[in-house]
């Protein structure tokens, strides 16, 4: 399929603009006044760009608090997942014990169970231990990850066995080998797990919607979606909120693209 180079670039430019168009439009609308948005035909670029909508977001919802909540919860999930998954992956790669296969299969089964199928008992549990409207209620249920464990296990299996033998001869304990050798050698895979955990937690909606009622405990996703249900729908305001919430994840995409791609394709390409 050799097209001319110019035709190729033209297709790429058109394709990229169409795919990115909704985002670019949100950015453009966030810079328009409400009266400009209401004009016909619908404008594409702001005639007089203004940051008023962004100021209005700060005045209408506690967006800084929402962002803080989301960052606290997502970071806690990342730290938790890195800890639990490295320990488990280490057991599944370096340690030899009977029952390992069965336990590995048990991890595997969690991938088949959708969170929505267990959400009712989980909600009842979180409510009964008084974790509604708390950071721990938002973060703790997601601190173990079978996906992350597999990813790390794959990385740990690449580490030469000779290092393990040498460490044993030097008298290093099992745990010390994990901390001083395995973890430092697996930084790229740990990065993938971290970025994945952060993105998926930051972008959550159903669970935070369910277990937070106080405005100040809302996360960003639930918080900006509330703008849609204000008495008068101000689109410029909503789009400014959308941009403020999407910027951290887009930054993460640009910075951690390689790690993200590795994660997404781990299960797909070579079965």
């Amino acid at each position: 399929m050799k097209l001319g180079r110019v035709a190729n670039y033209a297709l790429l430019v058109v394709g990229s603009i169409i795919v990115a168009f909704p985002l670019l439009l949100a950015l453009s609308y966030s810079l328009m006044s409400e009266s400009e948005i209401a004009t016909f035909p619908p404008p594409i670029l702001p005639a007089q760009p203004t940051l008023d909508n962004y100021a209005q977001v700060f005045a209408t919802i506690p967006i800084v608090r929402y962002l803080l909540n989301s960052f606290v919860v997502s970071s806690a999930v990342v730290v938790g997942q890195l800890l639990t998954a490295s320990l488990a992956a280490y057991a599944f790669s370096f340690l030899v014990f009977r029952g390992r296969q069965v336990l590995f299969f048990l991890f595997l089964t969690t991938l088949m169970i959708p969170w929505e199928a267990t959400i009712i008992p989980n909600y009842i549990t979180i409510r009964s231990i008084g974790w509604l409207d708390t950071y721990q209620g938002l973060a703790v249920p997601f601190m173990a990850t079978a996906f992350g464990t597999f990813l790390l296990r794959q990385a740990f299996l690449q580490i030469p066995r000779e290092l393990w033998d040498a460490a044993r001869i030097d008298g290093a304990t099992t745990f010390r080998f994990l901390v001083s050798t395995v973890i430092p050698l697996s930084r790229p895979a740990l990065g993938t797990v971290a970025i994945y955990g952060f993105l998926s937690t930051y972008n959550q909606y159903f669970w935070p919607l369910l277990i937070t009622n106080q405005t100040l405990m809302r996360t960003t996703q639930v918080g900006i979606a509330q703008l849609r249900f204000e008495e008068t729908l101000r689109w410029g305001l909503v789009m400014a909120g959308v941009i403020m919430v999407a910027v951290p994840t887009l930054a993460l995409l640009v910075l951690g693209q390689r790690q993200l791609i590795r994660g997404l394709t781990a299960g797909a390409v070579k079965g």
Partner: protein, 295 residues
């Protein structure tokens, strides 16, 4: 086989490393799963406390409930609208991106940007695009002589609107997975096909598509499971309406459990969701296994 003291000791060490994960999985996956199944067999109070044994009543009610049937139908329509088009679009764009060109990475980043976009953000943006008076979509349609519908007011178009939004949201993932599938195809295969006279569309259907079929199949399963779990875009855009047209299985679970407080009835639906997702995932596992055997 007997367990020796050594076996027990090494198992103990192994379990110590697995304990943090196992405790969390037990607390938030396995026990809740058993509780969901259990709840589906009981009637409950609005607090969630169990009152009387219902046996299979909730399941029988599902079988005869027109609302449940409509919900399953909505779920199926949603999947049929979303998954094949999303994958086809992803494949076309991935082929376009699978070229050695200067600055190709800029285009790759732009086209895969939706992987970082949350469903809430995507739904809010598309809500504006679908707005009948302010939105660009109906304006563009009017420019080509089509009178755009009131997207979210009519049942048939509301599910289309939610599907378009979902296609856009999953496009980034589809592109990345298919692009890496394409990059795994050896150049010699294309060379050989070219020597045999394959070009253009023929090359695409006879060589490219079969070579990335594992990625296509993987996406088919993953995207269908994602559609089965889709909640956010529906909550933000339509709240299950109009006239239940977008009240898919997950939304129905949400409404029955957390708005109608029928935890037992909602749990029976959660079990159905579980079976659907497990079935799809098992097919995926078996497929992967078979492929490995044949290699």
């Amino acid at each position: 086989m007997r367990w020796t003291a050594r076996d027990l000791r090494s198992l103990g060490i192994g379990l110590a490393y697995l304990a943090p994960s196992l405790v969390l999985f037990a607390a938030f996956v396995f026990i809740p799963l058993a509780e969901t199944i259990n709840l589906s067999l009981f009637n409950t109070r609005a607090t969630g406390a169990i009152t009387t044994f219902a046996g299979l009543d909730h399941y029988l009610e599902l079988l005869t409930s027109p609302a449940f049937r409509t919900g399953l139908l909505a779920t199926a329509i949603f999947a049929i609208y979303t998954v094949p088009i999303g994958i086809a679009l992803g494949l076309v764009l991935a082929v376009l991106l699978n070229q050695r060109l200067r600055a190709i990475n800029v285009f790759r980043t732009m086209m895969s940007s939706t992987i970082a976009i949350s469903a809430a953000v995507g739904a809010l943006i598309w809500l504006l695009l679908f707005n009948p008076s302010l939105g660009l979509l109906n304006y563009l349609l009017s420019r080509v002589g089509v009178h755009g519908p009131e997207w979210l007011i009519q049942p048939t178009t509301a599910i289309i609107a939610v599907s378009i939004t979902t296609i856009w949201l999953t496009l980034g993932t589809n592109i990345i997975v298919l692009l890496s599938g394409l990059q795994g195809v050896p150049e010699e295969i294309y060379e050989a096909a070219r020597l045999d006279g394959a070009r253009g569309l023929r090359m695409f259907t006879r060589i490219t598509v079969p070579m990335v079929s594992p990625s296509l199949f993987f996406l088919f399963v993953v995207d269908t499971v994602a559609v089965l779990q889709a909640f956010t875009q529906i909550h933000v855009m339509t709240r299950g309406g109009p006239v239940d047209a977008t009240r898919v299985l997950v939304y129905s679970i949400y409404q029955d459990a957390f708005q109608n407080f029928q935890f037992g009835f909602a749990s029976a639906q959660a079990v159905i969701l579980l079976l659907l997702v497990m079935g799809l995932t098992l097919i995926q596992f078996r497929f992967v296994e078979r492929r490995v055997h044949y290699q």
